[in-house]
């Protein structure tokens, strides 16, 4: 199941930004709201072993080109086996994107690695679980 992500499009150069930007970075015009499919190709990735204050090592970061045109930065559970050109699914939790499909335990571990207030981590885990349960119910009805 691939979800759709909120995005914005420049009416002049058609640049798609995710998450949405108010103005196009290349033109002084307001972007129009759109959405893009949360799946795409890995452009580059890294595992940061000396993360900045507030994050824990190892921190996996990927740059992904979505099918719908937007490029975005996202977190992942691991970069092992990942290649430039690999196809991944993107999940948005709040304003943060995560690549690949993961089991509930893997996701909990992943969200936990983003340091920050314990409440924020718990809320990210809860949101992700709730979303998955909601999708499951939709699938069950159809």
């Amino acid at each position: 199941m691939i979800e759709h992500l909120a995005a914005s499009r420049c009416p002049q150069c058609r640049l798609v930004a995710a998450p949405p930007s108010r103005w196009c970075p290349r033109h002084p015009v307001e972007m129009t709201p759109t959405s893009v499919m949360g799946g795409g190709e890995v452009v580059s990735f890294t595992t940061l072993l000396s993360p900045p204050e507030g994050f824990r090592s190892p921190l996996h970061i990927a740059l992904v080109d979505l099918v719908g045109g937007a490029r975005l930065v996202c977190h992942g559970d691991k970069t092992q086996g990942l290649k430039i050109g690999s196809w991944v699914a993107i999940e948005a939790v709040g304003n943060i994107y995560y690549f690949s499909h993961l089991g509930a335990l893997d996701r909990a571990r992943l969200f936990w690695r983003r340091a920050g207030r314990a409440g924020e981590r718990m809320s990210a885990i809860a949101q992700s679980l709730a979303k998955r349960a909601w999708k499951g119910r939709l699938r069950g009805e159809s």
């Binding site: 890294t46 072993l49 000396s50 304003n95």
Partner: protein
């Protein structure tokens, strides 16, 4: 490479700008306060220029507010060095602040607003723990992307992996660091003065896969100053160019070349009235070793895809066809942020005036390239001896 068109007859109205003197401190882990380092560089540059009182001062520091807790830094440093009554401004474009300050000083003289300007840049940060410094420098990245924990090394790692996917090899990238350390060993002011081997680079600890510790420049303190003048000297500023790009990585057109460097080079060569083929020596922003290869191609000093093999063949070493970073570059000379753009030009000036024993290059045109933030505010400056 095509060069930009001169903007009408604007450049024809400019006065020539010359360099009268230059100086810099040693780079490394220094105990002196930043204000002292900048005063020493400034007084040294004025002395070498045989000048006492500038018409104006331009100060470059990237982030004294957070590294030191000091604000109003232009007045702070001018007062400290005994120039409380000289007009002073501060210029900031992240890690290229020194080059941007040079441009501001150049513009004051070219426009006739001043006859003698001191441009001084400096930074002090080794007193803070590395994760803190990394986080503070990382604030020059896009705020949203920073919420993923991206830092400058993370940005550089994403660029490096994409570069390697295009055929640039580990050996080619490692050779940049090896060559720059060999040059730094000949520079008494350099942060690192030890030679290293490719095996040491490839065996150093991983910082952000595939980027290793020895691919990265150190955290350094230091200051550098240049005296600009309208009076003819032996070194003229032939061209200055600025280039910019979107702050967010996700809005870049290319990962393996920097639009901002290409635009800066195009503007600088257009002002100079000649192309990259006349450049004899260059100081390049190798904050991360692969950036030197990218920059050499962005500026047009090497054809696309050729900088890596040329580096491996020794073309960019001292004694090679086009020596790059004779000072040791950011990797070995060190990278005291806002001092760096000016330290590059101090090296270019010293090279053009034949004043660097053990690493002297026969040259009449020298180029300096400085990268601001994640390649968002870049500068190319061309100096020539006349």
């Amino acid at each position: 490479m095509t060069f930009g068109d001169p903007p009408g007859n604007l450049w024809a109205a400019m006065r020539d700008v010359w360099i009268a003197g230059a100086d810099m401190t040693r780079v490394g882990r220094l105990q002196d306060p930043l204000q002292d380092l900048m005063a020493v560089a400034t007084h040294g540059a004025l002395q070498s220029a045989d000048r006492e009182l500038p018409d104006s001062i331009v100060v470059a520091t990237m982030n004294p507010e957070e590294f030191l807790g000091d604000g109003n830094f232009a007045s702070n440093v001018a007062t400290h060095m005994g120039f409380a009554n000289v007009p002073v401004v501060r210029v900031e474009t992240a890690t290229s602040s020194g080059a941007a300050a040079f441009y501001a000083g150049f513009a004051q003289i070219a426009s006739g607003l001043a006859d003698t300007v001191v441009v001084v840049g400096g930074e002090k940060m080794t007193h803070l723990p590395t994760p803190k410094v990394s986080e503070l420098i990382g604030r020059s990245l896009d705020p949203y992307e920073r919420s993923y924990g991206t830092t400058m090394p993370a940005f550089a790692a994403l660029v490096t992996r994409a570069l390697m996917a295009r055929g640039v090899t580990e050996r080619e990238i490692a050779q940049v660091a090896v060559k720059n350390h060999a040059n730094g060993a000949r520079n008494p002011l350099a942060h690192f003065r030890e030679e290293i081997t490719p095996e040491m680079v490839l065996g150093s600890r991983m910082v952000a896969d595939p980027l290793r510790l020895f691919h990265c420049c150190p955290i350094s303190d230091g200051a550098a100053a240049i005296v600009l003048t309208a009076e003819r000297t032996t070194v003229r500023v032939a061209g200055v160019g600025q280039g910019t790009d979107a702050l967010a990585l996700r809005h870049r057109e290319s990962l393996t070349s920097f639009r901002a460097t290409q635009a800066a080079a195009s503007a600088a060569f257009a002002m100079a009235g000649f192309g990259p083929e006349r450049v004899d020596v260059a100081e390049i922003h190798d904050a991360f070793a692969p950036f030197e290869l990218i920059s050499l191609e962005d500026i047009g000093l090497f054809p696309p895809g050729k900088a890596g093999s040329a580096t491996l063949d020794g073309e960019t070493a001292l004694g090679g066809r086009l020596p790059i970073n004779p000072s040791g570059g950011l990797k070995a000379r060190g990278h005291p942020l806002a001092a760096t753009g000016l330290a590059q030009m101090v090296e270019c000036f010293w090279q053009l005036t034949g004043s660097v024993p053990r690493r002297q290059v026969q040259c009449s045109v020298a180029l300096a390239q400085s990268i601001g933030g994640p390649g968002t505010n870049n500068w190319v400056t061309i100096l020539e001896s006349r």
